[in-house]
Symmetry: C2
Subunit: 351 residues, 2 copies
């Protein structure tokens, strides 16, 4: 940190820049690690904050921000030549906003850099009140992915005690929590993941009744039939494509599919076809997409359930932590190859 000619302290600001719009699987070379300088103040007369970023979150939906603006999905596209953005946990260094003061902790959308100037937006930035849990949890279990699991399971799946629940990408940030919510409700829960290590985690750490490694199954429908001899009542969809096709064959009458994501499709130039949609008629299935930001009104209710459960050890949580912003591109890219075991976090600073 130094003091510039205009008496404003400055600091170096490491950043992760998008080199160009991404097609296919993202590669580390799509991102550039650079160092610039930042003035350590919030822009004068603005309602913005200068924040120091502590933890950054790697989330599958970020793939939809990497394409050209027209091709992007629900989220705004990244800007080429600028730091990419995502959810993070940050400390307020200086505030121009009446509701925030120096020292506050927040989680929400920030740049992938050491310091960001952010203008707080409701439902995109949240003050952190309970610091009696690891702060990084606010990138996952206690942040956007946690709320996604909560809203998706309780609001979209219409779960009932005793029902069968299948979760794909089950060891990820969202999946691990969905499985635990389902167990808390008295459901029979099976998860799938892409390695034996993750499968073990599902069964031993997160309390899933059963789990399988989808990469080792020749026939996904047969695997599901083995795990669900009486069929699937609820499918929490994180994957799409072939997995959805296999699930449709194994759904029960009046089954529900909550569509949270379709990570298997995001990097394909041409999506896989899904062929078994006539099951929707025969089985009167409801398939429903949802987005977490339609559900943030339940965030405080969510925290009331989850924070005590963490403290009492009733909810387990596994993070895969990359140390240092320079490791961020590797961590983000690894997500789309299933390299992370648990929620992928990047530590920028531990303060």
């Amino acid at each position: 940190m130094s003091t510039g000619g205009n008496n404003v302290a400055t600091a170096t600001n490491k950043q992760i820049i998008l080199r160009d719009y991404v097609s296919g699987f993202p590669k580390e070379s799509d991102f550039e690690f650079t160092t610039t300088t930042v003035e350590l103040r919030a822009p004068e007369g603005s309602k913005s904050l200068l924040v120091k970023n502590l933890y950054l979150s790697c989330d599958p939906y970020m793939r939809s921000r990497m394409g050209k603006p027209a091709a992007s999905g629900i989220a705004q596209a990244f800007t080429v030549g600028k730091p990419i953005i995502g959810f993070g946990v940050s400390r307020v260094i200086e505030s121009g906003h009446p509701d925030y003061k120096k020292g506050d902790l927040i989680w929400g959308i920030v740049g992938w850099e050491e310091y960001s100037v952010v203008t707080p937006i409701p439902d995109m930035h949240f003050k952190i009140h309970d610091t009696d849990v690891p702060l990084s949890y606010y990138t996952g279990l206690l942040g956007m992915p946690g709320m996604t699991a909560y809203a998706g399971f309780y609001e979209i799946c219409s779960p009932k005690k005793g029902e069968t629940v299948y979760v794909s990408a089950a060891s990820g940030a969202v999946g691990q929590l969905v499985g635990q919510f389902a167990k808390m409700m008295g459901c029979y829960v099976v998860g799938s993941a892409g390695s034996q290590e993750k499968v073990d985690l599902l069964k031993t750490k997160f309390g899933f009744d059963d789990a399988f490694n989808y990469k080792e199954e020749q026939d996904l429908s047969a695997a599901l039939k083995r795990c669900f001899p009486k069929g699937i009542d609820i499918y929490f969809e994180n994957v799409g494509g072939k997995m959805l096709d296999a699930v449709l064959l194994n759904m029960n009458t009046f089954g529900r599919v909550a569509v949270c994501g379709m990570i298997s499709q995001y990097n394909l130039e041409d999506h896989e076809g899904v062929y078994n949609l006539t099951s929707i008629i025969y089985k009167r299935i409801r398939i429903q997409g949802f987005a977490v930001f339609d559900h943030y009104d339940k965030y405080s209710k969510f925290l009331e359930l989850v924070i005590p459960s963490i403290k009492e050890g009733k909810i387990a949580y596994v993070e895969d932590v990359a140390e240092g912003l320079e490791k961020a591109p590797e961590a983000l890219v690894g997500l789309f190859h299933g390299k992370n075991v648990g929620k992928q976090v990047v530590v920028v600073a531990r303060e």
Copy 2:
């Protein structure tokens, strides 16, 4: 009609027999027209009825009954060597059931033959009380397809005034009514069908705001974009496959798809793939299959709405009538080639 040796009157009974399970498009040669003899009485000691069939209904869902039992969908498979079954309007000739008497008119599942023995089953057989409308309407507008349109539109589509509604196979038994319900609610309604004659019918007879011939469109998504510059809020799905794919690209946020049928897929050995399902996430779309027999508790409410509307000329209805049971296979097969203009009915007897 004659009297047999046991003093029971008999009659010849023309029948449409399933020769063998059908694969691909059904052909007339899959069915055999035969004549047998029937005793004109309800089996003694049973709660069955002997009925004389007046009108038979040709419905797309019947395709799912033509395959081998394991491959069939929601409905029970036909039996090879026996008359096929379907919805019809019939007169009770003799009754062993306390709730039915000779002369009653019913609609429900009967054999494709002149006389059937039926055991009335709730939600499969209904007494006809209002005969001040054409009786054949109970195979369509006032029967299963009408209830399908009613339940599908009001219960599954969650419609609101001012929304945009797209109906495929819109001139069919269900589609023509869905469009009119949507207009009654103050929606903007567009339908598609497979000929200029049907398109004209949609616009002039059924009051659709717009309509197009899907066979003349190179690009279904472009056609939908032209008809719905502001996107589709509700899609009433009768078709599936490529049409669903095109619709997904044109759905609005929080759009709803009521899946009634997917007639384009029923005769394919391998279903078409649907590729645009990631739209479900980005647009938070709800896709919901339904079956009319889950909704018959609303049948009397439905009649209270529809019968006066018919009598006051507020609801239009078009039938395509085949005269004589011998024409039934041709009429049924024609359905899967879109030959019918309006609801396909077979007249067995006008009494």
